[in-house]
Every structure is written in C-alpha cells, then in structure tokens.
Amino acid sequence: MESIISTFHIDLKIIIAQVINFGIVLAVLYFYALKPLNKLMKERSEKIEKGIKDAKENAEVLNNTKNEYKDVITKAKNEAHVLFQDGKKEAETKKNQMIEEATKEVAMMIENGKKSLENEKAKMITETKGEIAALAIKMTEKIIGAKLDGTFDEKTVNEINKL
C-alpha cells in the first residue's frame, strides 16, 4: 500500500480538492444548465403535446361544424322547399277562390243589372202607360171640350203641336 501511495503520489488533500472540483461541476451544471434546460424541454414538449391535442380537437370541431352546417343547409333547403310548395298551393287556392268569387260577383252584377234594367223597363212602361192614359184622357177632354165650343179642329192641332 505504501509503495502504491509513494509511486502514484497519492495525496488525500488533492483527492479532496478534486472531489470538491467535481462537486462544483455538478452543482453548476445542475443549477445553471440541466435544471433550466430540462424544465424548458419539458415545457416545450407539453406545449407541443397540447398543440397537437388542440389541433386534433379543432379539426374535430371543424369537421362537426361542417357536418352541422351541411345538415342545417339541407334542412333549410327542405324547409324552404316545403314553404315554397305550401305558398304555391295556397296561392293557387287563393287564385282559384278569387276567380270563383270574381265570377260569382260578375254573375251577380249581371243579374242585378238585368233585374234593374227590367225594373226600369217595367217602370218606364208603367209610367209611359200612365202618361199615355193621361194624354188620352186629356186629349179626350180637349176633343170633347172643342166640339162643344166649335174650336176643336184648330185648337186641337195647336195643342197637339205644343206637346
């Protein structure tokens, strides 16, 4: 043992000094390089993992939204189609109804027109009849009156002309 120590110049103090050197290296590397670097790398990998996860989720959400959008559009189209068809039907019905009503009204108006014309005609006839009768009576009165006083021919002609 002695020979080994003397041959290699083994010195406990230098061994301790070298252990301290290694201790300093360990402390400096750990606190100034490894710990922050490891933390940074860990944070980065967590961020990347989160990023990938988020991207996947976003893609899923986007896909779902696309599908939903398609569904909504299809639904809206169908609804619009149904509404359009309903509207069309309603319009048709209304049109037919209006035409029918208009036809009825026109028929009624014609009927009323006819009726009033007939009434007017009847009224006119009645009035004319009355006037003719009155005229005949007047004429008769006149004729009879003139005969009695001898002025019939001249006066009657003038009277008739005055009418």
Partner: protein, 293 residues
Amino acid sequence: MENPNTTNTIGQEKILHENTIFAEPIYQNKNFTITNALITSWLAVIIIIIISFILRSKLKEIPKGIQNFFEMVLDGALSLCDQITNSRDLSLRIFPVAISAFFFILINNWLGLVPLGGFGILERGKEGLSFIPFLRGGTADINTTLGLAITAVIGANLFGVFSIGAWKTLNKYVNLKVLGEIGKKIKKEPTVILVAPVTFFVGLIEIIGEFAKVASLSFRLFGNVFAGEVLLASMAALVAFIVPIPFIFLEILVGFIQALIFSILLTVYFTIGASDHDDEHEHEEKKEVAIIN
C-alpha cells in the same frame, strides 16, 4: 517508473522532459501541493462554469446554436441512461451526476491533449534540470480518478440509502436479515441453514466488491489517459511532425470513450444501489409460481 524521455539543452546543461506517472508539483502552499493536474482540473471547472453560464443566458423556447447542441446531447444521454435504468424516473435522478462526471472527465482528458503543455517551469532535480509543464491531463493523475471513483461508489450507496432505505442497503453487505430468517424458515426449508451463511458471506464479499469498483474505475481511467499521453510523447520523440497526428485523433476518441465508460458505470452502480434485492427475488418467485401454475 520512467517513460520515454526527451531532452533539450540550455547552454551546456541538458533539460529533461519526463513523463512521470504522478502529477508534478508546481507550487507548494504550506501543506497543500498544487500539481499541474490540479491546475488542469481547475481550468476544466472554469470552462464548464463558463459554458453553463453561456447556455443559461441563451436559453430560449425555440433553441438555437449551443442550446440546440446541448438539447441533442441531453436527449441522447437521457435515452442512453434509460436503457441502463429501465425507468425514466430513476434516470432523471441519476442523470445529473452521470452527465457531470462525463463532462468533467471529458474536458480533463482533452485538456491533456492541447499543446499548452509546452508552457511550464524548469526545476532542478536529482538528475539536473527537468521541465515541468503547467498543464497535465487532469485524469492523468491518480488522485483525480481516485477522487471521482470514491465519489461514484459512496454516491451510489448514499443514493441506495435514500432510494430503498438504510436497512436494505446495509443488508446488501452485512446480511443480518438472512441470518434472522434462519429461525423462521428452518422448519419449512431445512436447507436454509446452509444457504443463509453462504448468502451472508456473499454480502461480505460485496464489501470487497465496492473497493474493487473504486480500484477498477480509477485505474482504468488513469491508465488509459496516462498511456495516451505517454504514447503521444513517444511518437513525438520518434518523429516530431505528422506521425503523432493520427494518435492525437485516437486520443481524442479514447478521451471521449473513457468519459462515456466512466459515466455509464457510474449510472450502473447508482442503479444497482437503488435496486432492492428482496423485491427482485420476490418478483422472480412470483414468476416461477406463475409459470408452474
């Protein structure tokens, strides 16, 4: 023990360039001798501190330059550590010690290769003037490697104490538990009276094993790095130009590999320290039962 030496001359006197197996003293401060290997180690510490501060100041969420490089190294080293420990949690706890040892050894190894070894002092010894370089690879001194090896082995055991508890760690070496179980198990398994002392003895051998670990770790590293320096000096002494270049590259590789081996072994020792023999044994027994069933 002397190695291939080269000589220069100043006037009439020869200067001896010696590759000693020990680190040469540069300065004596009372009882403390500052050797050239210690100076190199301080330089390595300063380099690591500077790199750490630069890295710390340039940390950004989106990595660039030095941060990119260190993240790559960190990631690779951590996955290598995972292969040894089989657990990310355990890896994260051992990793700082292992990577610190790696960088400290690597820079010390490589500093032994830089041509700054040409600067030094002349000292008059027994054989006349001899040249003592200011820098010598930190790991080319047994004191450095011994310090690191002792730290690794004691650290592994302390790590075991904190991970699985003092009682279980103690039972790895002085297996009191197995002796205590003789009374319990003797009726069921009479063979325990033979097995238990053997197990206890194996535990004692483990204590020797721990010293062997210190010896193997320190001498492996020291031997490789010192041999590299001697090799380079020999090559430079034979042919000064071009010929040593491939050997310098070889030594760069050796420096890296030795640092890697040391840190991997350190990780292995820490993992063994944190593993519980009883749990493994029970697990194996359960497996056997499951297979039989």
